[in-house]
Symmetry: C2
DNA sequence: AAAAACAATAGACCTTTGTCCATGGTTTAG
DNA sequence: CTAAACCATGGACAAAGGTCTATTGTTTTT
């Protein structure tokens, strides 16, 4: 799949896809056989991009995403991957708790001053 | 209270406090009577700053915070304030849900590939 | 074949959220 | 009184995360 299709299907802009690729979040191949230099993306890029979109919204940084992607790479130790991801899960849960606090503060602000 | 004390008590740096003030998140007064131009902060600035710290961590932008602060200002209609805050609460809850999704995705990634 | 649509790359540019000077006054402690 | 500590202002600088433009080459459509 080429970048346009990927962008359209994932809802992530071409520029952002290229940006992510430059930052090691996804990879693509340039077919030698082709006369062009168009990049080719596999289906799992789409899955990743959808995940990225949600994860970014949830507050994860691009660096976080890269470490997750890297940890799930072939070459990487399963246990290392687990540890990295487990760590991120903890962080996310903390963040969710923090959001809970803020929500309570705001709800209190609503009910507090009559 | 002067900025140094406020910074120390809130854990927010002087520079950041000034930045927030420039952005309308807090206000201060400069006593005419004084010979200096030192700013004076009321106790509620401390409460706000503590809230800001948590809210920023929870992923709220400075612009979000400004709209909350503005909505709770004297001049502002109680109901308008409620609406603004209620909206932010919804956004935060959505964000928390989003985090939940990401966590599930990650947990699945952990258990999925055995 | 010619135009329209798509792609690559490089680099400029933008916003957000601060942080870090430099300069020049003011206060406070010794 | 003098040095150390504090404050204000203005502007430079920074990192993250994109976005936009220019240029040039490739497909696809008509």
């Amino acid at each position: 799949m080429r970048i346009g299709e990927l962008a359209q299907k994932s809802g992530v802009s071409r520029d952002t896809i290229r940006f992510y690729e430059r930052n090691g979040l996804i990879t693509s191949t340039v077919e030698d056989s082709e006369t062009n230099s168009y990049r080719n993306y596999k289906d799992d890029c789409l899955v990743w991009l959808q995940f990225f979109a949600g994860a970014r919204e949830a507050g994860m940084s691009v660096a976080d995403l890269r470490s997750i992607v890297e940890s799930t790479a072939e070459s990487c130790d399963r246990d290392v991957a687990r540890a990295v991801i487990q760590r991120k899960i903890e962080e996310l849960k903390e963040r969710a708790d923090q959001i809970g606090n803020v929500v309570r503060f705001l709800e209190n602000a609503l009910s507090g001053p009559k």
